[in-house]
Symmetry: C3
Subunit: 146 residues, 3 copies
């Protein structure tokens, strides 16, 4: 088993796990499944963005901020899609990882034209939950236009 680990570094598997985590996480948010999306953060998770005066802290705070945004988009008839790309991942011990990626928000109004709404950089401290699944403990989002 040591040989296997040497041949296939943990980071390849880690990269795969983080990519699948991000795909699922963004599909939840863009589908308006806010409570399930908030469960992809730790109970004490932090969501900070240079577009917001204060970070959202804890699942309850993260949920209420995201629900308000989701409701506002639904009222306007706009479908959001969060795209993450150029993802780099580094292990931080056995059950944590640091991820850095680019993130675009693509918006499409019903009957209208898709646009790149914003371009951002996203930095995540990820940790494994009790069931082994990844969670965001700290997310920092930096909009390129600010």
């Amino acid at each position: 088993m040591t040989t296997v680990t040497a041949q296939v570094p943990a980071t390849a598997e880690l990269y795969f796990e983080v990519q699948q985590f991000y795909a699922r996480q963004m599909q939840l948010l863009d589908s308006g499944r806010v409570a399930e999306w908030a469960d992809t953060f730790t109970e004490d998770g932090v969501f900070a963005a240079n577009a917001h005066p204060e970070p959202a802290v804890g699942r309850a705070g993260i949920t209420s901020a995201a629900q308000a945004a989701t409701d506002a988009y639904a009222a306007k008839g706009i479908q959001r899609r969060h795209w993450l790309g150029m993802v780099s991942v580094e292990p931080r011990g056995e059950d944590a990882a640091f991820g850095r990626c680019y993130a675009l928000v693509i918006e499409t109004p019903k009957g209208g034209q898709a646009i790149v709404k914003v371009s951002t950089v996203c930095e995540d401290l990820l940790v494994r939950g009790a069931d082994g699944a990844w969670l965001v403990k700290d997310r920092q989002v930096y909009r390129d236009d600010l």
Copy 2:
């Protein structure tokens, strides 16, 4: 060998295979190699989209629909690029998988400005062909603007 499989879940390998399949499939379509692209569907493959009144069924039907679109773009001097992202993949038994991803169509006219033409969600039932390569058995594309 059992140990190796336990250490490296099939899903990491599956994710890689599907990503390479999608890269090759989209490069074929965007290069206008329609017949080779149609060969990435099963003989009885289905291509359905909420933008089309009827699904294209079978390689012949899929080829003729794609050839017409390809010819129309060529006549207008527009280069299309299909981008798939936020890909999640789940095995469906040993030789099938369900994929869900976002898909953008980026269009660039000769001498003109690139735009995000449409934002979509793509759901695929993938199966392995006789040679082990992945094929699309059923594709459903949902445009965000419709």
Copy 3:
């Protein structure tokens, strides 16, 4: 060890390594760290583009071309983000690989709207350096609008 290699083809690991290489390489360029970015090419590396009359050859040439572009963007207050996607990778022997991908440049002016500046195709001959890290030996970039 032969068994392990048979179970986990080099290409899955290769795909991961190339993706991480691209993520780091583009983050360096978009952060304005031009010298570190140029070090991701071989000493005799080539960067050719159909948008440029002549290829940049060698790290010194590649650095000076990239520094000029970086300075011009900084002066205009525009943040660039290079996105690579639909990456296909093929091994070329043990220590080289051929990569083909799509590349977008997303530009955001301070206080302004993000746009897709250009859509391109990028073809790379990659080789392993002495420390095992990947380097670009030859890059060809084809803009879709030209």
